[in-house]
Symmetry: C2
Subunit: 282 residues, 2 copies
């Protein structure tokens, strides 16, 4: 890369939420980023409150800001002839904004070295390996959304207390049917990798032998579930059916230990992952 | 590309569903594909029912099968030394399987010429333009999922009739809060494009001037909503707030006319998009 990119993560204050999927990427890669949780500031990037001069509307945070400093963007400008109108000098350089967690992770993964073994492949084999990383991320995000909907099955804009009866029904289905199905696909994925690696000491990642964005995404959602549904997760662990998923969680926790023990790691509270005892196993 | 890839879409019989997002890509591009709706056959690719020799588990359909015929995969084999174990000769060539609609579309978009103007860019500008296409697709898929959840807010494995009361509540919130918010972001996106194009005859696509996978994804979800919530959509249309979204839908319908009028286009029935009058506006 000839340009020096600087990254800012725009997200709600106080909660890990969907921003945490992005934060884990930077923390794992050891690449600097800024957190911006100034709601009035980032609201200007959202649809309906959009500033003039910002080209692309965003549905929600997380939003990744990619800043190319003036020097770098000037050199880009010299190399091209038709992009003068695009370059915003007011802020000293040029800003790009990307939203939607999957799009942000797809953008960052090759930049942060988080494609693992896929990065060594070429052509179709590379494209397929990247697609497998993306499909695992998408599955983790689906699980994340379904976890959120256990406490907000009717309306995201209403209080939990106003949809508690529905939340109990949805949570029961989630614990009995959905969660085991999701853990099952992660378990089988790890099993297939272990088989391919033909050893117990390698093949402990979801795609290939190196940590990818898929490992980070699955780690984060499992970690949130351990907070939100401690009894249910304990029962699933004791069942012995998902040993590789829980071992994978431990592996990643060890890999991310320095960050997880820092004050940059936000505590779960009343975001996506909430602990309501009445929604958990009895 | 040196290899000739052949595509098969594995999806449920009879309904457009999430498979339709993939089908529209092939149909728009005019690239051949096979439909495989043989449930016992594709079930073998799903987690828990997985055949030996299939490396990657899948949570659900749609699954895209990418087949590289024996000749082409032999030439790949000659060019590489370490992939002999990967090549499956039993089926005459090699198969790859990709699931999760966003991952499938990200894989197909550059192959089918559905990145529009982004394909002409390089470096960071290209990556950002592709990210914007992906974020719009993700927003369309979120709307798709929320539409599904209007009739199944409690459990995907139970009947609608058993969650009708909850469905009415969720649908009311969907019609009043969520749907206008989604349409608003698409409307503003089209507005910004039109401003950038500085003419009323161009700038009628979501990213740049050419049709991308984002246009197809947004078209499909709006089309499904017109079936599922005809009264609500009529009221939203009459509000005049989403004129560009409805014009975009008409544009895309004209572009896809040949396919839409064919018997390959499946009718909406009891899939993601269902018309229950009691969930629609009064």
């Amino acid at each position: 890369m000839t340009t020096k990119e600087e990254y800012t993560l725009f997200y709600w204050p106080g909660i890990p939420g969907r921003g945490e999927f992005v934060r884990l990427c930077f923390e794992k890669a050891g690449v600097a980023y800024k957190d911006n949780d100034d709601v009035p500031y980032f609201s200007k990037l959202l649809s309906g409150k959009q500033e003039d001069g910002v080209d692309v509307p965003h549905f929600a945070v997380p939003i990744l800001g990619v800043h190319v400093p003036a020097e770098a963007s000037d050199s880009i400008k010299k190399a091209k002839t038709d992009d003068a109108a695009d370059v915003k000098h007011a802020s000293g350089g040029k800003w790009h904004y990307i939203s939607q967690t999957p799009a942000i992770l797809n953008f960052l993964a090759p930049r942060l070295g988080l494609l693992g073994d896929a990065d060594k492949l070429e052509g179709l084999e590379r494209d397929v390996a990247i697609a497998h990383i993306q499909q695992l991320c998408a599955t983790a995000f689906d699980l994340n959304t379904e976890t959120h909907d256990t406490h907000h099955p009717v309306s995201v804009s209403s209080f939990y207390e106003d949809q508690k009866a529905e939340a109990k029904k949805r949570s029961a289905d989630f614990r009995q049917n959905r969660l085991p199905k999701f853990l099952g696909v992660f378990e089988l994925t790890l099993h297939k990798q272990r088989e391919a690696a033909n050893t117990e000491t390698t093949g402990r990642r979801l795609v290939g032998t190196q940590t990818t964005v898929a490992d980070l995404a699955v780690y984060q959602v499992i970690d949130g579930l351990l907070f939100a549904f401690p009894k249910c997760m304990q029962h699933l662990k004791q069942s012995g059916k998902y040993d590789r998923v829980f071992a994978h969680h431990d592996d990643l926790a060890a890999e991310l230990q320095h960050y997880l023990e820092s004050d940059r790691r936000r505590r779960y509270s009343n975001g996506i992952f909430r602990h309501y005892p009445e929604l958990d196993d009895e």
